[in-house]
Amino acid sequence: MTDHAISHGRRSALFAWLTSETPSSRMQARCVQWFLGWLGLARNPLAMLGLAIVVTLILAAIFAPLLAPHDPLAQDLGRRLLPPGTDGNLLGTDELGRDILSRLLYGARITLYVVALVVFTAPVAGLIVGTVAGYAGGWVDVVLMRMTDVFLAFPRLVLALAFVAALGPGIGNAVLAIALTSWPPYARIARAETLTIRNSDFIAAIRLQGASPLRIVIGHVMPLCVSSVIVRVTLDMAGIILTAAGLGFLGLGAQPPLPEWGAMISTGRLFILDQWWVAAMPGLAIFIVSLGFNLLGDGLRDALDPRSGR
């Protein structure tokens, strides 16, 4: 046998192992589940485009110092407001002669930072509130869900504005404000899932074995709620990016001279009629990244949740 055939043989063995209908271990079952989900996602070209955009964003953020042709903060007043395509400044320069492309690349770090912080706090909070409310029922449920409703009763941006007003502007406070306003939908989803899981036989079996409510919620209910929460999180990421950019645009998020995309649009606003690229470029970056997250989120929802496939 040639090397090629051997590697092919190994690959098909791996493929068979990954698509087995009778997994022999819990690990294999989990791998099969992930692999089938991935196959479903990979069939969807738009979702793959979204994934490519998101991966590009992550790579741009990691390798910004290597990719950026200039220092994002270095001013050069002799080269201010140069149009895109100028030699050495592919996307032009802003009002202080800073290279827009370099600022966009470094701005990717801020965007990712905001998204990552919100994504690791808000859904966790929502998951805890929702599963506890759903599993406990009774007055705990009523109190927690009322709280959720109250937070949902504000338009998100307006509430975030009020929070930032109280806490003071800055990127940390912007993240806090966004997280504080974005957990309620996750709580609702987790509660709805918990209500259907709560009465199933396997939960009754665990309860009869003497598992404590805490153990049931953390060990058995939460893992089953995670996938629908993850889908919702991916769909929400674009919203998080847009809200963060909106706060930056209003001057309440990242402060100058940080190259935050929303704040860059805000300064570009002054030159919109003559030097359109100063505002257009960062907006385009926000648009492409949000579109990437939306496409990926749609694809994930279709792959993981066949019910909403339409």
Binding site: F154, L157, V158, L159, F249, L250, I265
Partner: protein, 353 residues
Amino acid sequence: MSLTGSTSGGRRAWLSSRSGVLKGGRLLISLAVTLLGLLLITFLIGRVMPIDPVLAVVGERATKEVYDATRASMGLDDPLIVQFLNYIGEVLTGNFGNSLLTSRPVIDDIARVFPATLELASVATLFGVFIGIPAGVIAAVNAGRWPDHLVRLLGLFGYSMPVFWLGLMGLMIFYGKLDWVAGPGRLDIFFDDVVPQVTGVILIDSLLAGNTEVFANALSHIILPASVLGYYSLAYISRMTRSFMLEQLAQEYVTTARVKGLSEWMVIWRHALGNVMVPLITVIALSYANLLEGSVLTEIVFAWPGIGFYITNALLSADMNAVLGGTVMVGIVFVGLNLLSDLLYRVFDPRAR
């Protein structure tokens, strides 16, 4: 059998009206709790803010005695719960304090700026309804073909674009380059105060005064911000219309109507769309509420003197009374619109009664 049909019918009607009252009562209670929570949040935000409200009144150079006396007279020495109860009382009587910026009662300011937001959001919703619903229907009828993909793409773009950026680009192109529409603001400056203020909505006021020149100018000013904002409700409405329509088109009555020989036009636009309208009313009310959020950023870009513009300006000059008053107001309207969508659904869909 002593129970005749009519008494049992009457009994059922009585029971259902009683359950209606119960439901209404429960709705009112939940509304009250939500509003209470809303006030609690704004109250707490007002308490943790780094700006000292006493300093804002007495100034930096006040003596300790003056400072303490003012603090006590403002009720800031009371326990938090007393302060909160006082706050509720003040809000219920429409007293949000005075704005530092305009030095007028916040409630008067809000009454002045709110019609502008209402005007913008209403025109935007009209835009979303009159384009979004047909777009959604066409997408559903052609599911899986290019019109469907086009509508989906339009929606995806809407969900991915920062509203303030779209507004700026619109200004750059349609005002700066093409000069098709008027620039920022509600009216050109020489039309200010030409028509008497009746409703505060210039499009209506100018028509009431019969001044077509002002109307045309106002229309030219509103068309761009309203279509930018309306694009977002279009994205939402068309997506929901599509999914509702797909559900209806799979029903048997649609097949029956087709078998009966009704024209495709009648089947789609009369029968299927007619049944979709009920859930759509809810969607439209919700999208109207969501426009409040987009209107904050749109108003900034277009210098539109509405509630979002007001809150943001107040925020940038640390005018907390105005910020919190505006936030409470927006919250109340938001809750009200959500309630309205719920009620409309109950009115129009007999199954939900």
